[in-house]
């Protein structure tokens, strides 16, 4: 049994974990990060790559806006081209009720300082530069964008290592030792890492870690499936979303000319599962939505499908901040499918909490406490 000392142990090598490791190491803290598989190997490296502010829950919007500020200079920070491009996000609707919903959000988001604008059908075609069918209109946010999930997450991990964090991959946590309600050490198969501070950034595996310190966490694993097309001639540059009631899909053009197609995960089969196979009904749904909305893509070949497991909370808001019941425990989890965009700000906030005990964004609405007070109501569906 090897014994290590660390000021902070981060559990989970998704983007919230590696970003926290990076900022903490840069601030001079002795950091150990433990990852059960590999950095970016789960949802942080498997998602659609959206970096979006529009359409967020009002409680989440300040976090998304602050995260985009970090994304804007992230390449300099981590030293590679993460393929982050601030090329905008177009959220489309195919029904009158969908348009009314977009208009309500538009009003609210304008008031929050987001430069969103409403588009009619022609406006959607003009902005995207492609033929669009069935769409009545949309909402456009020019400061949104997208990035390469694998590049960005791995780059954050490498930057954390360069800054002095010790990152252990293929090292699942087997236990947490606590005495008198205070954390003393994090255990793995052959290591004991002595620490007073643990950052729980284990996404859908968080409840497993929570139970080690006696917590029941309302975090559910949800499958999210994706497709990628072959390379196509010049297509839209924006991240495009379509929703209609419980249905929806999204599209991200990669810099190589492939198009990533994702789905919101509304089917029951997608809920409460760690399965990562892709399934025909969901693939079919995404392919049909693509062909129906973008006629130019109707004949394009799909070359791969895959899925990732997201960590959904009952209100689809993340859990960021300290746990009052277990001294030294800080949450950075439950991102409900929004962790890729929010990863950078999550890392910064964790660093602030560790180094100053305070945070530059109020954490009340994303606190662990909201579950203890019973105030949380379950919301419809993850978008």
């Amino acid at each position: 049994m090897k014994t290590l000392e660390a000021e902070v142990v981060i559990i989970g090598g998704g983007i919230p974990g590696v970003a926290a490791a990076y900022y903490l190491a840069k601030a001079g803290r002795k950091v150990v990060l433990l990852e059960r598989s590999e950095v970016g190997g789960e949802a942080s490296g498997r998602n659609g790559g959206g970096v979006r502010q529009q359409g967020r829950d009002p409680a989440e919007l300040p976090f998304a806006m602050a995260s985009v500020k970090i994304w804007e200079t992230l390449d300099e920070e981590v030293g590679i081209d993460t393929e982050y491009r601030q090329w905008g996000n177009v959220w489309t609707a195919t029904s009158e009720s969908g348009m009314r919903d977009l208009e309500e959000r538009w009003k609210r988001e304008r008031a929050s300082g987001l430069p969103v604008e409403m588009l009619d059908h022609k406006g959607v075609e003009e902005i995207t530069g492609v033929r669009v069918r069935r769409v009545i209109g949309g909402k456009y946010c020019p400061t949104d964008g997208h990035a390469n999930p694998i590049f960005a997450t791995k780059a954050y991990g490498k930057a954390a290592s360069r800054a002095g964090a010790r990152v252990f991959e293929h090292t699942p946590v087997t236990g947490i030792r606590a005495g008198n309600g205070e954390i003393e050490a994090v255990l793995t198969k052959d290591m004991e890492v002595r620490t007073g501070t643990v950052v729980l950034a284990a996404g859908p595996w968080s409840p497993e870690i929570g139970r080690m310190v006696g917590l029941e966490m309302p975090v559910q694993p949800v499958r999210s499936q994706l497709l990628v097309t072959e390379q196509v001639p010049g297509f839209f540059r924006q991240f495009v979303i379509w929703t209609d009631g419980d249905e929806g899909s999204y599209w991200r053009p990669t810099l190589n000319g492939n198009i990533h197609i994702g789905d919101g995960g509304s089917l029951d089969d997608e809920l409460n599962t760690f399965k990562q196979a892709t399934t025909l009904p969901v693939i079919e749904h995404m392919a049909k939505a693509t062909a129906a909305i973008f006629p130019d893509l109707a004949g394009v070949s799909i070359i791969r499908s895959w899925s990732g497991t997201i960590a959904a909370t009952p209100d689809f808001l993340p859990i960021i901040g300290p746990c009052e019941a277990v001294k030294g425990l800080i949450f950075a989890t439950g991102y409900s499918g929004h962790g890729f965009c929010l990863g950078p700000i999550s890392g910064k906030l964790v660093c602030e909490l560790v180094t100053t005990g305070d945070s530059s964004i109020p954490l009340e609405e994303v606190s662990w406490r909201r579950f203890e007070s019973g105030a949380v109501q379950s919301k419809g569906r993850v978008v």
């Binding site: 072959e230 390379q231 196509v232 001639p233 010049g234 000319g257 006629p295 130019d296 004949g299 394009v300 070949s301």
Partner: protein, 107 residues
């Protein structure tokens, strides 16, 4: 130019079949009904199906079973069509593709 094997030592004589016309970069090419586009092109002496995006190198038939995507061309305005597994149709327009190709006007 016709490079078809009309008398194969094992398979025997090429049976007669209905022909259709396809248009390769505007030029009419006669094809046997139902054969893959790639077969018609090879028979007509056409070996270069596309040019690569980065180095503009010529590519043609490689795996011939629909896996490698080396033989893709623009067919009836649709880029990236695998000609080795796509049967000819009368009046089909086939174009040599450069890079990722381009969307045709009428699809």
């Amino acid at each position: 130019m016709d490079r078809r094997i009309t008398n194969h030592p094992i398979l025997g004589a090429l049976p007669g079949r209905e022909t259709v016309s396809i248009y390769v970069d505007g030029r009419e090419v006669e094809a046997r009904a139902g054969e893959p586009i790639a077969a018609a092109l090879l028979a007509a002496g056409i070996d270069v199906f596309r040019h690569t995006e980065k180095y503009n190198q010529p590519r043609g038939l490689f795996c011939a079973i629909g896996r490698c995507t080396d033989c893709v061309m623009i067919v009836n305005g649709q880029p990236n069509v695998r000609t080795c597994v796509t049967p000819v149709e009368d009046g089909m327009r086939v174009e040599t593709q450069t890079g990722r190709g381009r969307w045709g006007e009428s699809r």
